[in-house]
């Protein structure tokens, strides 16, 4: 799906981006979130309840054939992805909540994801294996740069601030790279699916969209503040797509793999596009709601 060089480059870019995200935080931001564990727990529950359920529901509604549907189910059962942190950052929502929840869901995924995939996937899911190494890599790619970034900011506001700026630029590069490499590689896939299997196409779009919407409402139902609702939306709606691809690579081969890969490939495009739009909306709303004080004090 993606070349080794691109993969390595993407990994480095993601690490730099996460270093920047870490540098945007302070130990106090982390401890503030730890002091209100309710929101961490609710986010983890939301991640592994709604996303799999929405994926399963979409399979039923659009009558997606099992060989393809398993891809959607696997995506739905994945933990949060690192790009959710970046989008949360640009949306000016609660970055530290997003980062901690990504860590928690990734760790929880080791046990919960295989169970969920088996539960929702039925017969096709029997051969599914979880690439634990990839989960460990995901975790390392998350935890190490984040804490290094936090440490840098603590040591020097200048180094931290610079890292944050550069990291966010790398984040934009990551997004652009994902789009730029995706489109030429999968263009025919996109067009063919749209014409031949509109249900599959719709499922791949609706998973992130419904995921974000339901997550937002989930937070709202529990009385979360606006910033936390937005964080939930981005955190839960954006899953670790590459991990889904790795799961499929480990579990399937040949034609089965190609079919299972279809939805994760589409998802990784649509999630970037929809999340970018949602982030822009959130960011605008944040800036609008910010306290206005007169031009001069």
């Amino acid at each position: 799906m993606i070349g080794a060089f691109e993969q390595a480059m993407l990994t480095i870019l993601v690490a730099c981006m996460m270093l920047g995200m870490g540098a945007a935080m302070t130990p106090r931001d982390i401890s503030d979130e730890m002091k209100r564990p309710k929101w961490l727990v609710l986010a983890v529950i939301g991640q592994f309840t709604f996303m799999p359920l929405i994926a399963f529901g979409l399979v039923q509604v659009f009558n997606i054939p099992p060989a393809i549907a398993i891809g959607l189910i696997i995506v739905g059962c994945m933990p949060g992805g690192t790009t959710s942190n970046l989008f949360t950052y640009f949306a000016k929502a609660n970055l530290s909540l997003s980062v901690i929840v990504t860590m928690l869901t990734t760790m929880t995924a080791i046990i919960v994801s295989p169970l969920l995939i088996t539960f929702y996937g039925g017969v096709v899911a029997e051969g599914v294996e979880i690439p634990y190494a990839n989960i460990v890599v995901s975790l390392a790619l998350l935890i190490l740069p984040i804490f290094l970034g936090i440490w840098l900011r603590r040591r020097s506001a200048n180094v931290g601030g610079s890292t944050e700026v550069i990291g966010s630029v790398f984040g934009i590069l990551v997004i652009l790279l994902l789009l730029v490499t995706w489109v030429p590689r999968n263009w025919t896939l996109l067009v063919d699916t749209f014409t031949d299997q509109p249900g599959v196409f719709a499922g791949a779009i609706l998973l992130p969209v419904l995921g974000m919407a339901v997550a937002y409402l989930w937070a709202k139902v529990w009385g979360a503040q606006v910033a936390d609702r937005r964080t939930y939306a981005l955190e839960i709606g954006i899953v670790n797509g590459p991990l889904a691809v790795a799961v499929i690579a480990l579990s399937f081969s040949g034609a089965a793999k190609a079919e299972a890969d279809l939805i994760p490939a589409l998802y990784s495009l649509f999630v970037v596009i929809t999340a970018s739009l949602v982030t822009m909306v959130f960011r605008r709303a944040f800036l609008r709601s910010e306290q206005k004080i007169p031009e001069l004090l």
Partner: protein
């Protein structure tokens, strides 16, 4: 009603260590005090400028001393200025500010503090009146100076950058952001000198600065601080070295136990071109060896978050808007500053609700004072550290200061009776620059007639009843109706106009223009756009009311008082939504 028998009943309310009078200045000029502070705190940080994401640059007291010497030499030797020449300083809070201001003072020049957001016409008027011989500006706002440069004969312009004196890589990143993201570096197509290049030129001869300083006395002019005063025509209050030394000494003496030399950190979010921050933060706290945390732009208030996080702020000087805004920021309430001792409020009335919220959130008092540009500016303050803080009052007169509410016939008002506040003390200005008539109107027999109306309790606490009748106070900034009316009248579709203030709650007041149109197609948006070309943002009316006629006196003078009451509930003309949220 009885009159005051004791001429200074408030002395009984001074905290134990506060003297009734300040000692005569130990130094010849303010420069000697600045030099002494730098000697005493040489290697300590004097100024740190903090960007919204925490990036920062700093100067030690030694740096400020050395570089301001260099700037003084540049002004005198390279530009050929002489003692008494006026130098305009027009910058937001940044590290170049103290160097430029202290450098100009050390050169014996007169600082003309200027709001960097001024429009071309406003700048031309102020610079023309002051007769400035040099302008120190900032690159991000340098485009507006072009107007002035184009119409005046070769006034040299020196431009600093926000990033001057920042570590190199940080400056590089901020410049890149300015170029690519915020795009706020205008093209500069007129000759100018980089601030740092000017310092280079002066640095090798910096020892010569001492000779300029030795020529200065307490009577030498230090600042022309522009103000509308009571009449509304903008004029320069002449503040001498003695005035500034006295007022900073008065305010420091009044907080003696609470301000420890070399140990305080003060948040400077108010602009230093305003007399309040200029004298309290830049002169007063610097003299005490305090660390000034400079905020270039406090809007939005989240720009202050990193500053509060990273520095042990012990003092905040602010206006009601700032305090009220901060206690409504979630991050501030979640982690209020731990080291804060007290906060000082001036510029506009501090609302009781804001004060109590602030105290609740920070666990430290905010005390209100009263002042005006013509008094450099401090006149009264609520006592900190021992005395009684009386809410709803602006406290008691500072040491060596007498305040007297006065009847129209010049006799003292009775206890509790409102009267114009007359002030006497070493902080009272020398007069208005080149305006002997206006000076004579406000400086009479050693008293400054403030035009503000207040009362005094039996024990000397002052309450402000009404600040100068027509002045509109928009979040601490004075807006003079005359100036706004003039700007609006210049529109061909305007027949008559009266500008008044309407209550805007925590923000103070809004500017409302009541307009009689000759061109009935004229809209509020047109008028607003027109005003914005002539006036700085806070002066531009936020509300327009159209009327058929304005109330006038028998001799045809528009009666603002009647305009205010008559049009208080009038229908405000709609503006485009984009304009309303400004």
């Amino acid at each position: 009603m009885p009159e005051h028998t004791d001429p200074r009943p408030w002395l009984a309310h001074y905290p134990p260590e506060v003297p009734p009078d300040i000692a005569p200045a130990a130094h010849g000029s303010l420069c000697d005090e600045l030099i002494a502070a730098a000697r005493n705190h040489h290697d300590q940080r004097a100024f740190t400028m903090v960007m919204p994401n925490g990036m920062n640059g700093h100067l030690t007291f030694g740096d400020v001393d050395r570089l301001s010497d260099a700037f003084a030499v540049y002004l005198r030797e390279t530009l050929g200025l002489t003692q008494g020449d006026r130098v305009a300083i027009q910058m937001p809070n940044c590290l170049a500010y103290p160097i430029a201001a202290f450098g100009a003072l050390k050169a014996g020049c007169v600082v003309v503090n200027t709001n960097p957001l001024y429009t071309g016409p406003e700048m031309r008027r102020q610079f023309g009146d002051a007769g400035v011989a040099a302008i120190v500006g900032i690159d991000i706002m340098a485009d507006k100076i072009r107007d002035v440069v184009a119409t005046s004969d070769d006034i040299p312009v020196i431009l600093a950058r926000i990033t001057d004196f920042f570590p190199g890589y940080v400056a590089g990143i901020i410049r890149s952001i300015q170029k690519v993201w915020t795009r706020n570096l205008p093209r500069i197509d007129y000759p100018y000198v980089r601030f740092t290049a000017a310092l280079e030129q002066g640095l090798h001869r910096r020892s010569e600065a001492a000779s300029y300083v030795s020529e200065l006395t307490a009577d030498s002019l230090a600042c022309l601080q522009y103000t509308g005063g009571t009449t509304g025509v903008s004029k320069g209050a002449m503040l001498t070295h003695g005035n500034l030394m006295a007022n900073s000494a008065q305010m420091m003496a009044f907080s003696k136990t609470a301000i420890l030399p070399g140990q305080e950190t003060i948040l400077t979010a108010l602009p230093m071109y305003h007399v309040f921050a200029f004298v309290v933060n830049l002169v007063g706290f610097y003299g005490m060896g305090a660390h000034n945390i400079l905020i270039p732009n406090p809007r939005p208030l989240s720009n202050l978050k990193r500053a509060f996080e990273n520095y042990p702020i012990t003092w905040v000087s602010g206006v009601n808007t700032l305090f009220h805004g901060l206690v409504n920021e979630e991050w501030f309430v979640a982690h209020p500053p731990e080291h804060l001792k007290a906060s000082i409020s001036g510029g506009m009335a501090l609302h009781a609700s804001t004060a109590s919220q602030w105290e609740q959130v920070t666990g430290s008092p905010v005390v209100e004072g009263y002042g005006l540009t013509e008094a450099s500016p401090g006149v009264t303050f609520n006592p900190i550290g021992g005395g009684e803080v009386r809410m709803g009052t602006v406290g008691v007169p500072l040491p060596s200061t007498v305040v007297r509410p006065t009847r129209e016939d010049g006799r003292s008002a009775a206890l509790g009776e409102p009267g114009e506040l007359w002030v006497r003390g070493p902080q009272v200005m020398a007069g208005y620059w080149q305006r002997p008539e206006e000076s004579a109107q406000v400086l009479v027999d050693g008293w400054l007639r403030t035009g503000d109306v207040g009362t005094m309790d039996a024990d000397g606490y002052v309450r402000i009843v009404d600040r100068s009748k027509d002045v509109i106070i928009v979040s601490g900034f004075n807006v003079f109706p005359n100036e706004v009316e003039e700007a609006l009248s210049s529109h061909p579709g305007v027949d008559e106009v009266a500008v008044v203030g309407v209550d805007a709650g925590e923000r103070g007041e809004r500017v409302r223009a009541v307009v009689v149109r000759s061109d009935l197609t004229l809209t509020a948006s047109d008028l607003r756009a027109h005003a914005a070309t002539e006036l700085t943002g806070y002066k531009v009316p936020s509300e327009f009311v159209f009327a058929d006629d304005l109330p006038k006196s028998p001799i045809g003078k528009i009666l603002r008082k009647d305009v205010r009451t008559q049009f208080v509930d009038a229908q405000v003309q709609p503006l485009l939504t984009s304009e309303v949220t400004r």
